[in-house]
């Protein structure tokens, strides 16, 4: 079948496409002249790290660039030039013949209208007719994308749906006019692994049914391996390599491709010696969130985010906490650091810290640090990197002189593999991986004994993820740190931790040494998680 397709005329031909952005520092070329073909019914994966121009290529073709972007070159859909077309003419193609779904299902739907209406709008716009007339078609589409009980869900608002369901609605919208090409820009990145597998399966089924081409933009090679027929690897706005998926994976020609493929986190962590002292312990930790009473409700509702969880961390140990979003794993991390109100008993070393208030906790903060998920949000945009990482010293070692603080900053930056000159610059000048290194430097400058890592690699590209994991493991070995490693990404957890706790709905469903959990999970839930992460459940 793949051979037959090779001979078919491409429906989308892109030649020498360039995208550039005007910035105060001069023009930035995001895409530097790329060629690509999409043939009917095939799946083309465009792979690359963030900043490689993979999304901007598609945005350029679809005329969706930001205001300061310009596109040049040629993109022909069935012989019709799309670059430079007026918005009106372009709209005959985009949204009807070529459609797009985006990464963030939370923000790509309008929160003010029911989903049914939003889908009907697309149909009414491109086919004429009223929204009412489109209703049967909307129901059909919702059923097609696997939304249960479409009769009822057609009137749901986006906030009433889960992330996976919203992404399904987005797909229904994209399919409404039976397009020839569906461009999926990181369609599953924001979703849990189990949902991710379902969405990919759905896309594949729909592709077969409608014989449409899918252009999948992603940084996750795991998905590409199972999903795509052809792969195009991009780096810094240029095509590094392209070819059949099997060829690319089995014998990559470019070093960069090889690096991407090998970036899967690897290695295992050895558990600490049996006699290692427990440095931190939380018993029967329970966190309740009060949902505001509001004006008309008599009593505030309680939402139990963490339910009676006990965890004890030994020196040099890494406990991986896994679970889907909403399982309470992040809340647990914050509760252990006493950053959210919780009940339970806590010990740090041999001292009982259960009854310390905020002021009482302050001296202990230097020994228990926290690294956040989002390297963009966790650094104050108005401070220099130097100010950010020495902030802890300012609190815990106020006697240090400016010069001494600066020296410590240089040491910390060197330790996380950054140029010490970085300390005079601002966070927005750094890439995601570099920012996460800065965040780690900020935690480590205080020489903590335990660090809670809250999804420290989830916002990063695979290759950068590997580097950050290396760094964390290296630092752990050097300083005898203990980690609590919170993540939904099981391959990362496996590479990082020697003990794993699986959480669901605020409770621990299973715990044990990492190898035991991964090789012989006892609970169904754990099995589903692992299955989704490693097999993507697509073979069936």
């Amino acid at each position: 079948m793949a051979d037959m397709r090779k001979t078919m005329e491409p429906i989308l031909t892109v030649r020498d496409l360039k995208v550039s952005f005007t910035t105060p520092d001069g023009d930035v070329d995001a895409v530097k002249g790329i060629d690509l073909d999409v043939r009917p019914g095939e799946t083309l994966a465009v792979v690359g790290e963030s900043g490689s121009g993979k999304s901007q290529t598609m945005m350029g073709i679809m005329g969706l660039l930001a205001a300061n972007g310009t596109v040049s070159g040629s993109a022909k859909y069935r012989g019709r030039e799309m670059i430079g077309l007026s918005t009106k003419a372009l709209n005959e193609i985009r949204g009807a013949r070529i459609t797009m779904i985006f990464q963030e299902p939370m923000t790509s739907l309008d929160p003010l209208y029911p989903v049914g209406r939003q889908i009907a709008e697309v149909i009414a716009h491109h086919r004429g007719g009223t929204r009412k007339a489109a209703r049967p078609r909307v129901l059909e589409l919702l059923k097609l994308v696997g939304i249960p009980d479409p009769e009822r869900r057609i009137n749901s608002y986006p906030h009433e749906m889960s992330g996976g369901q919203r992404q399904r609605v987005m797909i229904a919208m994209a399919l409404a006019n039976e397009p020839d090409i569906l461009i999926a820009d990181e369609p599953t990145t924001a979703l849990d692994v189990t949902i991710q597998a379902q969405i990919l399966k759905l896309l594949r089924d729909l592709q077969k049914r409608f014989d449409m081409a899918i252009v999948l933009i992603t940084h996750d090679l795991g998905i590409v391996r199972h999903f795509a027929e052809r792969v195009m690897v991009m780096r810094r706005g240029e095509v590094v390599e392209q070819g059949a998926a099997a060829d690319i994976f089995d014998n990559p020609k470019a070093d960069y491709t090889r690096m991407l493929i090998e970036a899967e986190p690897s290695g295992r962590k050895q558990p600490p010696p049996d006699g290692a002292p427990i440095i931190f312990e939380g018993r029967n930790v329970t966190v309740d969130y009060k949902i505001d009473a509001g004006m008309f409700r008599k009593r505030a509702l309680l939402f139990r985010a963490v339910d009676d969880v006990s965890i004890s961390l030994r020196e040099g140990q890494t406990i991986g906490v896994v679970g889907e979003s909403g399982s309470g794993k992040s809340t647990l991390g914050r509760a252990l650091l006493r950053l959210v109100p919780s009940t339970g008993s806590y010990r740090f070393g041999k001292t009982d810290i259960s009854h310390l208030d905020r002021a009482g906790m302050r001296p202990l903060r230097r020994s228990m640090q926290l690294v956040f998920q989002d390297p963009y949000g966790s650094l104050s945009p108005r401070q220099t990197v130097g100010e950010i990482i020495t902030e802890g010293l300012y609190v815990h070692e106020p006697q240090l002189s400016r010069a001494a603080r600066d020296k410590r900053a240089i040491e910390a930056l060197k330790e996380v593999g950054l140029d010490p000159a970085a300390r005079n610059r601002y966070p927005h000048e750094f890439s995601g991986g570099q920012r996460q290194r800065i965040a780690i430097a900020r935690a480590l400058i205080l020489k903590p004994r335990a660090v809670v890592l809250d999804e420290p690699t989830s916002a990063l590209d695979r290759s950068v993820q590997g580097q950050v994991i290396e760094l964390l493991r290296d630092l752990q070995a050097r300083h005898g740190l203990s980690y609590i490693f919170i993540s939904h990404d099981l391959s990362v957890v496996r590479a990082m931790s020697d003990y794993v706790v699986v959480m669901k709905d605020g409770k621990i469903v299973e715990e044990g040494p990492a190898d035991a959990i991964f090789s012989a999970p006892r609970q169904d839930y754990t099995r589903t998680l692992i299955g989704a992460a490693y097999n993507l459940a697509l073979q069936g």
Binding site: P24, M361, R365, Q369, D374, V395, R425, E429
Partner: protein, 376 residues
């Protein structure tokens, strides 16, 4: 690996560009905003440096020039001078043969039937217009004298007001006071509002509730009533005006900063600061306030014109600055009273006022675009 080194920085130039510097860059490319800033600088120079250049002071009364219209010609004009000279000549019992003015000096030829006593020049000096009159030549045994002297001529480019004061000097003074009130009152409101809003927003819960209800109570008090009460208790003074205005304007600022703080509070860098063990006040000072700067700066450019308007309003009501001090607002009020007889009294202060407000608004727009770029 691209990730391990900061290779993009050229050697030697390690100082990064802060968000603020980027904002300045964007601002510079915004034409209307730059034009607005230039206008503001010009107006400020006019108001604050102008008085050193012109010879009239704002409270100097020219009794001979009451309500004269603006003119590029010096006053009195040649005709008026000649008439004055004739008058003087009559009083001195001499006959005026010829009279001419060149710049600051005049030359007059007078004759009489009897020889003229040179002391007659005193008659000339006694007039407002002429000074230091001297006899240059004496012909016909003193029957024909050529006199020269200095003419006291005044320039009133903006005309004079109903009391005979130079309007230009008054507009300059008005500008000084309006700009000073605008800036100082904005600073007062900025100081109180930012700290109050940041504390209220960051603390949240009951503290926030109490602090915001207090703001709402103040909101509900009529502004004029508040001002009248304060003026009655403390008397009218320049300092009081901007304290009063600042004390009312900080309410808006506090609300804006509180809103900003509420959204900042959920940002992870605040959580990180908490995890580092910073106290609440340290977090507010080091993280919350610096990050609200963008919207705050923009809001200040809205507050400044608003405060200038408020001051004008107070002055219009007669609660503002006291004569002989003045502000654009009171000048406009005065001008409005004489709109038909002396329109220039309204036109000149109004032009300055309007241009200033426009410029401030353009600058405010420019700042908003610069600090809050949607295209990046």
């Amino acid at each position: 690996m691209t990730d391990t080194t900061v290779s993009s920085a050229p050697e030697g130039e390690v100082k990064g560009r802060s968000l603020f510097q980027l904002a300045v860059l964007r601002f510079r490319r915004n034409r209307p905003a730059m034009a607005g800033s230039v206008m503001l600088v010009l107006i400020a120079c006019f108001s604050f440096l102008g008085p050193f250049v012109i010879s009239h002071s704002y409270d100097q009364v020219f009794s001979s020039y009451v309500t004269v219209p603006p003119s590029l010609e010096p006053r009195p004009g040649a005709d008026a001078l000649e008439a004055a000279m004739k008058g003087v000549a009559t009083r001195a019992r001499v006959e005026l043969q010829s009279f001419s003015v060149e710049g600051e000096t005049f030359t007059a030829v007078v004759t009489a039937e009897d020889p003229i006593d040179p002391r007659t020049t005193r008659y000339f000096d006694r007039a407002n217009e002429f000074d230091r009159t001297e006899v240059v030549t004496s012909e016909d045994e003193g029957r024909k004298l050529t006199l020269t002297g200095i003419v006291d001529r005044e320039y009133f480019l903006f005309g004079t007001d109903t009391n005979g004061r130079d309007l230009m000097a008054r507009v300059m003074l008005g500008g000084q006071i309006s700009i000073a009130v605008g800036l100082l009152a904005s600073l007062v409101s900025l100081g109180i509002g930012v700290v109050y809003g940041a504390i209220s927003g960051y603390m949240g819960g009951r503290v926030d509730n109490v602090m915001m209800r207090f703001v709402e109570i103040l909101y509900s008090l009529p502004f004029v009533f508040l001002v009248v009460v304060l003026v009655v208790f403390f008397g009218r003074s320049f300092v009081l005006i901007f304290i009063v205005i600042g004390a009312v304007e900080w309410l808006d600022m506090a609300r804006i900063v509180r809103g900003q703080t509420l959204s900042l509070k959920r940002r992870e860098f605040i959580g990180a600061a908490e995890a580092l063990g910073l106290t609440d006040w340290q977090i507010i000072r080091r993280h919350v306030i610096p990050n609200t700067i963008g919207p705050v700066v923009i809001f200040v450019t809205v507050i400044v014109p608003k405060v200038i308007l408020l001051e004008s309003f107070l002055s219009f009501l007669g609660l503002g600055v006291q004569a002989p001090l003045t502000s654009w607002g009171s000048l406009i009020a005065e001008g409005a009273n004489n709109m038909q007889s002396a329109p220039w009294l309204l036109i000149f202060p109004a032009i300055f006022f309007v241009v200033t407000l426009f410029s401030l608004n353009f600058v405010g727009d420019g700042l908003r675009d610069a600090f809050d770029p949607k295209d990046r």
